[in-house]
């Protein structure tokens, strides 16, 4: 089994003892097939138990381990050492305040997620005794990709607008709103629209597509934004220019 010595340069910051973030170097003996998360775990176990970061599943489904790896937002459990040469620089996700080391404060994202009402608002009520709503595979396909968002927030770290205008509701929250809007069982678009068509909603997006590029789940938030924007524009025209068409 091949081993390799890897140099990690990890951002450290502790609000109780550090005035500013700093970098710390670790030389770690790693196995070739490891991911960056394995290397961090190895540091924590054998070199420095004070290093803090989030992780749980180690299979790219829980969304905890987002970090900047060589400047790119990535999941540490899906970033293979074999894809990197030289020093690997690990920092907390960009655009979020640092709580400690690689742990960020994500209150802003959690609040935005809630604001877009990411739950089914049934178009037609149905009692449990009536069984499931019917939904064809084609109808499922219309929104399925947007259900795959694991809230890892890599897209926020990649988004230039979110960096500039933190009020921007952002790619993942909009994708999730769109996910429910596109669901054949749902009738809640109007309720969600208030939030996402507001100033800091969809209009801030300038379509650089960075969010879709970094998304590990291929949710394609840029496509969601685009579709929501078109719908919002149509709404605006309907409401302002052709009010008689509404309803």
């Amino acid at each position: 089994m091949s081993e390799r010595r890897v140099e990690l340069e990890v951002l450290r910051y502790h609000p109780e003892t550090d005035a500013a973030p700093r970098f710390q170097r670790y030389s770690v003996d790693c196995r070739e097939e490891w991911v960056v998360l394995d290397a961090l775990n190895h540091v924590k176990e054998t070199l420095d138990p004070t290093l803090s970061y989030r992780w749980s599943c180690h299979m790219a489904v829980c969304g905890s381990c987002g970090m900047m790896i060589n400047g790119e937002p990535r999941l540490a459990c899906k970033s293979f050492l074999r894809d990197y040469q030289g020093v690997i620089r690990v920092e907390p996700l960009a655009h979020f305040p640092i709580e400690r080391d690689l742990v960020t404060v994500i209150d802003d994202f959690m609040a935005k997620l809630k604001r877009v009402k990411p739950y089914l608002i049934p178009a037609q009520a149905r009692a449990l005794e009536q069984g499931e709503y019917r939904q064809t595979p084609a109808e499922l396909k219309r929104y399925k990709q947007f259900t795959l968002c694991m809230n890892c927030m890599l897209c926020y770290a990649a988004c230039p607008e979110y960096g500039l205008i933190p009020k921007f509701i952002g790619p993942a929250a909009i994708s999730l709103a769109h996910r429910y809007n596109q669901d054949s069982r749902d009738g809640g678009r109007a309720a969600r629209q208030e939030e996402i068509a507001a100033a800091e909603g969809v209009w801030e997006c300038s379509f650089t597509g960075a969010c879709s590029e970094v998304c590990p789940e291929h949710v394609d938030p840029a496509a969601a934004l685009q579709q929501v924007k078109i719908k919002s524009t149509v709404d605006w025209y309907l409401a302002h220019l052709m009010p008689w068409l509404k309803k």
């Binding site: 003892t17 180690h58 739950y119 149905r126 429910y180 069982r185």
Partner: protein, 586 residues
Amino acid sequence: METVHTDVAILGAGGAGLRAAIALAEADPKLRIALISKVYPMRSHTCAAEGGAAGVIKPDDSLEHHFHDTVAGGDWLSDQDVVEYFIREAPRELVQLEHWGCPWNREPDGSVAVRSFGGMQKQRTWFAADKSGFHILHTLFQTSLKHPSIERFDEFYATELLLDEGRCAGLVAIEMRSGRLVRFDARAVIVAGGGAGRMFPFTTNGAVKTGDGMALAYRAGVPLKDMEFVQYHPTGLPSTGTLLTEACRGEGGVLLNKNGRRFLQDYGMGPETPLGKPVFKTMELGPRDRISQAFWHEQKKGNAVPTQWGDAMLLDMRHLGEKKIDERLPLVRDMSISYMSVDPVTDPVPVRPVVHYMMGGIHTDIRAATPLPGLYAAGECACGSINGANRLGSNSLTELLVFGRRAALSAIEHLQSGAPPASDAALAGGAAAAQARIRELMQRSGGGETVAGLRKEMMQAMEQHAGIYRNGEGLAEACGKLADLRRRYARIELHDRTNVYNTDLLQALELGSMLDCAEAVVASALERRESRGAHQRLDFAARDDAKFLKHSLAWYGGAGAPRIDYAPVSITSSQPGVRDYSGAHA
């Protein structure tokens, strides 16, 4: 210390905790609900479940079938009245999730699609591709956002339950971002803390699954039931332990030894079924315990496939074709390529048995109630018991829905029973003692033991002595080892003495939970001198209904070993019989 006053405190925001929270909020919007979790809800390990959730829905199936599959799958250690309740409620819960938006796979006519799973005689596993748990968790989490009465305490680590006069009346938790301790006064507490697979070195379980919920209840005097039953899933990736779902076999994947032989036919699960035409409860659709045990024997015979990570067998899915694999098992393909560099479309994937699920847990009854008034438990941390000696795949996602809700309803009944409020002095005393314990751990010096060191020794002992096959000698050694590790745990020393997001402290506390759970596992296993389901003793190879058709209960013994006694199994209609996976029924 800050005190939060609430009606019901829920420890854990995975599938079970979220389901309980929603049931409480729906039943009475005025109830104050505190949902406390050491990780953000969507990070809970329910997200990792792949295959699906069982519930009878198709016309060719019946509740009786589901009942018999579950009871026989559990080697007759399940409580049959609880199983009856479970299978009756199951379809309702799965439809409920559908109404909340869960993206279940569909048939062309728009009805929900179901797939085959091991040990089930009909197709009854609801699925959302191979990310069923992910979608269940996110559907529940997102639905919970619509209820303002669910107050979340994300990244709060619960350290102790608070008791007053023989009742559970709250808990104490560390707010991770500040390090301060918070006291939660509650009229009822629901523990939904998940499993404990991290006691073992090679597991499908995420880092959060350290048995905290079980340990908290155990230390509060509630016994842990049937802890010796630890499920190995036959198909984990040898490099990381990452799971390849049983749905791989449900869809038609087969298992081969190094000679290319479908070896399960040599272990009472044959005759060989035609490739691409899986037969219910036969060959690759046998139950997990049997398949994992068959691999162990193949390994002894020298028939395993050597890999750089140790012995393996091959999971061959090539005949399913790229289209079906992409449609139904996309995550499996992605993970095989990422973590093993093997594409299942073109090559068989090496796999080996991996620690997966705890059948045992907090002693609960059909109402999800523990013997401690005011304390309820649901999800993997609880043992009701529907899973008996071996859980059937896809029963546990359904279980956490059915009993998450049941725990909420029972908690409400408890609130309505008009128990007097707990004494403030008692709760303050309990909280102060909890704080003193954390402080002592934080400040301790000169102990010399480390978290990582003890954890490694624990994992080794468990792997060596409490694996697929066990014997009395090894288990006795493991009991001694765990007693020693628990003594040394008192001398553990932290490197990090700061307050903010101190994972050194949290890992130390998690290790404490795992050591307590591990000791309950090996002590219960040593006493069970028979082989049943997932508990196989080389020195007692047969099932012994005369002596052991009963639940083990491990009672916390403080610094000493747990005391083991037993409770009867409830049998309503199915007398213990032979578990037949030979295809004879087909």
